[in-house]
């Protein structure tokens, strides 16, 4: 029941939130709920057996018998940390958006909880249709979050976001249907949408022929996830969505939603279509490398801080993609770790940008300058997060990036040689931005604020400290003791990497372990 509770509690919260009578306590309530959710997920983590690659805490019951669709939840090393990331970020987001969301507060928090439920659902669902349902469902609240609470071009951005993602996932739906049609071969006559049955499928693959089922299915899935990740050249929705989204929206988007794409690759694409994945790995590694360099270069010349960070996401996600598709234990472990890192550090960056935006109502880099003298605490936090983002050792970013690069070197030194340029470019665009925003003489905005007492700039408030400190602690904790986090996933990743061609998640049938009663 643990996993169901994780998914459905937020929905319950959302409903309660929607009908909560008092306007001024909505935020407190939401924060309390999200903390409950986080504690629940900690309980889940405590029961999780890190030494096993098996699916744990499995819940399976028939949903749509006719199609073999089941309500099938499970968690293993690949998803456990992503679940934790989701539950960890939501309270922070709520706290971080305390002041910035000032209209339709109830609606916002309801949407946020539904989004959380959908995201957790996509990480926990082990049934293709169930996964698809959560996957699509997650679009809706995000669509509203961007569209209602977003910036001036929010409608354009939110439509672009929705339609891009939707267009990709439609193909995936078709591929799922096709796969379900194949399952009777392995289940003894019954159609099934369970991932365990999918894994047993032996889908024909011929290397030279593009029109083999496995290749087509592979691309149908891969494109859906690629748009979500997003990988070059399908990334253009991301900067728009990020720039227009309100701070919490950006945080969720960067922190968790993009991970749904990479998670999809790891959970569905690579194990399901191993030959095709291997055969086309070069393609994805190539776009990953292009993404890294391209994202970094374009980020460098952005005039808008948020857009800069958005493009940096493209760059970072390029790393993750490479890590996944080099398909060795370093790369995959690194990628999985980098997903968490990116969630934390980019999430923190967006929160910080949100805080400064609340103060100055501008994100134009050229209007800033000299902020460090005015907001020292803020600056320190920002620089720490920047260091995490550019993967300075002892911060979390380094561990993931290093492992990915190591994996890519094992795959091909040339790939590593190109990917490593991201290390330099990453530092270049982030530090240049930091320099222009925080250092140098005081910029237009700062001097204006100094003359205008109504808009005087205040350093971080206690609430904002409370938002940032957990993130900063995580940055160092994950950087110094990566094993505390990676140990949860190693068994699963090893299992995946070693059984590339013949992958099936074992399912722990030991009920004591699943903790069902």
């Amino acid at each position: 029941m643990m996993l169901s509770a994780l998914i459905f509690l937020p929905i319950l919260f959302a409903i309660v939130m929607a009908f909560w009578p008092q306007k001024n306590t909505v935020r407190h309530l939401a924060f309390g709920f999200s903390i409950i959710q986080f504690i629940l997920s900690l309980g889940m983590l405590q029961r999780f057996d890190a030494s096993s690659a098996a699916l744990q805490m499995v819940e399976k019951s028939v949903w749509i018998q006719r199609f073999g669709i089941s309500y099938f939840l499970g968690i293993d090393g690949i998803s456990v940390m992503l679940v934790m990331l989701t539950t960890f970020l939501v309270p922070i987001i709520i706290l971080g958006s305390w002041n910035s969301i000032d209209k339709q507060v109830k609606g916002f928090h309801s949407a946020l909880f539904i989004l959380q439920a959908a995201m957790l659902g996509s990480f926990l669902a082990m049934d293709a249709i169930l996964f698809y349902v959560f996957w699509e469902l997650s679009l809706v609240p995000m669509y509203f979050i961007v569209g209602i609470w977003g910036g001036t071009r929010r409608i354009y951005a939110t439509l672009k976001f929705f339609i891009y993602t939707m267009a990709g996932s439609m193909l995936m739906l078709l591929a799922i249907i096709f796969l379900m049609r194949l399952t009777p071969e392995v289940t003894g006559g019954n159609i099934s949408a369970s991932i365990l049955d999918f894994y047993k499928l032996n889908i024909p693959f011929i290397a030279g022929d593009f029109l083999t089922p496995q290749t087509l299915l592979f691309f149908a899935f891969a494109i859906a996830f690629a748009i979500k990740v997003p990988i070059f050249p399908l990334h253009t929705w991301l900067p728009d969505a990020h720039v227009e989204a309100p701070t919490p929206g950006s945080v969720v988007l960067a922190g968790v939603m993009l991970k749904m794409g990479t998670y999809g690759f790891l959970r569905w694409v690579i194990p399901l279509f191993p030959e095709a994945a291997e055969h086309f790995a070069w393609l994805f590694v190539l776009v990953g490398v292009i993404g890294i360099i391209y994202g970094a270069l374009v980020a460098m010349v952005q005039p808008d801080v948020k857009k800069l960070v958005a493009y940096s996401s493209v760059s970072h996600m390029g790393y993750i993609l490479i890590g996944l598709f080099v398909m060795n234990t370093y790369g995959v472990n690194g990628a999985l770790y980098q997903m968490l890192n990116h969630g934390i550090s980019t999430g923190a960056l967006f929160l910080l940008i949100g805080m400064i935006y609340e103060r100055t109502h501008s994100r134009e880099i050229s209007k800033y300058g000299g902020l460090a003298g005015v907001l020292p605490h803020f600056t320190i936090a920002f620089v720490i997060v920047t260091m995490s983002s550019i993967a300075v050792p002892m911060t979390n970013g380094f561990v993931g990036e290093f492992l990915i690069l190591l994996g890519s070197y094992a795959f091909s030194p040339i790939v590593a040689a190109f990917a490593v340029t991201g290390v330099v470019l990453g530092a270049a665009y982030m530090l240049w931005m930091v320099k222009r925003v925080f250092f140098g003489p005081k910029g237009e905005l700062i001097t204006n604020a100094e003359h205008d007492h109504a808009h005087a700039l205040h350093d971080l408030s206690a609430r904002e400290f409370a938002v940032l400190i957990p993130l900063i602690i995580m940055i160092f904790w994950m950087g110094l003791f990566p094993n505390h986090f990676m140990d949860y996933s190693k068994a699963s990743v090893d299992h995946l990497v070693k059984n590339k061609m013949d992958y099936s998640i074992p399912m722990s049938t030991n009920t004591a372990q699943t903790g069902e009663r």
Partner: protein
């Protein structure tokens, strides 16, 4: 006390200092901040000394103290511990770092007392010490890399310490990014080594290093070490990545002394020395290292001739001296490299602090053309600076003489050496002597050109004590490694240095041709040539800048465009901007504008337009005329029937 605990205290003491100061970074109480920070480093220094003594007490082959705190990253075969090792090489380094570091901290109390961010400053300094210790103590390349990047970060923070000045902030950024270029190569180097040897542990790597020389350029060891060396060129400011160091002088002067002269910039040399068995196996890399080192030594020295900023001169001097060190390690003289590293740490730290003292006295004036005759205002500073000057230009028996002489001798005599390398070294020495004398002359000697509003005064005692200590070290620092040719006349003073390092350093055999009997004579000859050249050069500079005013300008005019070119640092920065950075930014803008906006988005819009166009077309078919609709029905029927009939 247990040695592991000692290492822990050694490492953690600056961290504690960092937090104590960092958490109250807005405090202006410089005494408190300085005391905390200095004490932290002093504690580390004490630990270092204790550890050193422990090492001394061990048998030479077993001089190795390790401390494994926890497993840092462990994925499959890739296992890296937060492990630290104190051995012959790193023990010297920690002594230098904590010792010189403590002095510089002390100096900073006086130097920074008027600064608003003094507490933050000391926090950064402590953080730097911590990272530097990790760098030198790390038992694996990756652990070393942690410190490697960490010191880069601190350097970034300290260079840009006065962030309100855009140029200073830019200098910090430049330092970091340039270092990152090297770091990227360093990472690749680590991969190559890990893939070849299956470990990044330095001890294991050294043990696994092939004894046979690797001739191929594309051999794993050669490539790996080359990549590491590129990393070193970044950190240690060698061609082509030296450009950040002169700009790094934007930071407070003690920082320049600590980071950009004594400790951090020598990390590259230290790294190569640590990995000497590996580098020795790759003669091609060694050759590259030596050539780059020699070239840097000369190039930076020429630029040093023409600079007017006291710190810039010292900065180029540092680059040049680092070139010497690389020359040393490049020709296989690892001991000499380390030796010069140490002596350089003493006298260059001294000179930077001295310059700090001067700047402090001159109210932040750094242009040597506006100084002169400061000897009478700043006697202690002058005296200590004078010792440093003697050391750097290589006058026996000052520290620099021994180390530089050792390098030049090895450059000539080692099997990896070459007469051209030696010649470059000598030219470098001559140039060094010239510009350092010029610096002395323009600053301390001759007539005063000081602005009337400025009243120079000697620095407080907290600043002069470190100067004095370093001055003494600059004199005696070289005596631990007196070469055999000289020491045989001094009553066989043992060469402590070589004995100490011998177990951890593989020595290249001397070139076979040099095994003759004239070995000693040759060494004497070369030694006198270099000293003589340096002395002549120094004297001519002295005359030029104190006795014959204006002659310098005439010389400059005589060289015309060459002078301009050198004065403008060979336009390397400009070339980097023109050739690399600006095109990159322009290209990125185009990439954004053309690829993102105009190709990808446009393509998306095109699809939308096509769909919308289809919509408009359908809309235009929907005329509202019902006979038109009936016609569609008729056409539909006809088409369907025709098609059905044609089966």
């Amino acid at each position: 006390m247990n040695q592991q605990a000692l290492i822990a205290i050694l490492l953690l003491s600056p961290v504690v200092g960092f937090f104590l100061n960092g958490l109250r970074f807005r405090s202006k109480n410089y005494i408190l901040a300085g005391t905390i920070a200095t004490l932290a480093v002093v504690i580390s220094f004490v630990c270092s000394v204790l550890l050193f003594l422990d090492l001394v007490g061990m048998p030479p082959e077993a001089r190795r103290i390790t401390a494994n705190f926890f497993e840092w990253i462990a994925v499959d075969k890739f296992k890296v511990n937060a492990g630290f090792v104190v051995d012959q090489i790193s023990s010297i380094m920690i002594l230098i770092i904590t010792g010189v570091g403590a002095l510089i901290h002390l100096f900073s109390i006086g130097y920074m007392h008027h600064d608003k961010g003094v507490t933050k400053y000391f926090a950064y300094l402590n953080l730097f010490i911590f990272n530097m210790l990790i760098l030198v103590l790390g038992d694996s390349l990756l652990t070393m890399f942690v410190g490697w990047e960490g010191v880069g970060l601190c350097s970034y923070l300290l260079i840009g310490f006065w962030f309100n000045d855009s140029a200073k902030a830019a200098a910090g950024m430049k330092a970091f990014i340039t270092n990152r270029v090297g770091d990227a190569a360093f990472i690749i180097g680590m991969f190559i080594l890990f893939m070849t040897f299956g470990t990044l542990n330095i001890h294991e790597l050294n043990a696994l290093a092939p004894t046979a020389l690797e001739a191929s350029w594309l051999g794993a060891v050669t490539l790996g070490t080359l990549m590491l060396f590129i990393g070193a060129t970044g950190k240690s400011a060698q061609i082509p990545l030296y450009v950040w160091l002169p700009d790094a002088m934007a930071g407070p002067t003690p920082v320049s002394a600590l980071i950009h002269a004594a400790t951090m910039v020598t990390a590259g040399v230290y790294m190569i020395v640590r990995l000497n068995p590996l580098f020795i196996s790759a003669p091609n890399t060694m050759m590259v290292v030596a050539i780059i080192g020699a070239a840097t030594a000369v190039l930076a020295a020429t630029i040093g001739l023409t600079q007017h900023d006291i710190k810039k001169v010292l900065a180029y001097s540092t680059v040049s001296q680092l070139g010497y060190m690389f020359l040393a390690v490049g020709v296989g003289a690892f001991g000499a490299g380390m030796f010069h590293l140490m002596t350089h740490a003493f006298f260059k730290a001294l000179m930077f602090l001295g310059s700090g003292s001067v700047i402090h006295a001159m109210h932040e004036e750094q242009d040597i053309r506006k100084m002169g005759g400061l000897r009478k205002y700043l006697p202690i500073t002058h005296a200590t600076f004078f010792l440093g000057w003697l050391a750097i230009i290589g006058i026996p028996p000052f520290a620099g003489f021994f180390s530089k002489d050792e390098i030049l001798w090895k450059a000539y005599s080692s099997s990896a050496g070459h007469i051209l390398l030696w010649a470059a070294g000598v030219i470098g020495a001559a140039l060094t002597a010239f510009y350092m004398t010029r610096l002395m002359a323009l600053t301390f000697w001759g007539k005063s050109r000081v602005d009337k509003n400025v009243h120079p005064h000697e620095s407080p005692i907290s600043m002069t004590i470190p100067l004095i200590i370093l001055g003494i070290l600059s004199v005696i620092g070289g005596w631990v490694g007196i070469p055999h040719v000289i020491s045989q006349y001094l009553g066989e003073v043992p060469n402590f240095w070589e004995h100490w390092l011998a177990p951890v350093i593989r020595i290249l055999p001397l070139a076979p041709a040099e095994h003759g009997a004239d070995h000693e004579a040759l060494e004497w000859t070369l030694m006198s040539v270099s000293v003589g050249v340096a002395a002549i050069s120094a004297i001519s500079a002295y005359i030029m800048y104190t006795k014959k005013e204006g002659s310098a300008d005439r010389v400059a005019k005589a060289f015309g465009p060459v002078y301009q070119l050198v004065n403008k640092k060979y336009l390397v920065d400009e070339a980097y901007f023109k050739g690399l950075i600006n095109p990159l930014i322009r290209g990125s803008k185009n990439l954004w504008y053309y690829v993102d906006v105009n190709i990808i988005d446009k393509a998306t819009y095109k699809v939308t337009d096509i769909v919308r166009g289809g919509g408009s077309f359908v809309k235009s078919l929907q005329t509202g005329n019902m006979q038109q609709y009936a016609m569609y029905i008729g056409v539909g029927v006809v088409v369907a029937l025709s098609f059905v009939l044609m089966r």
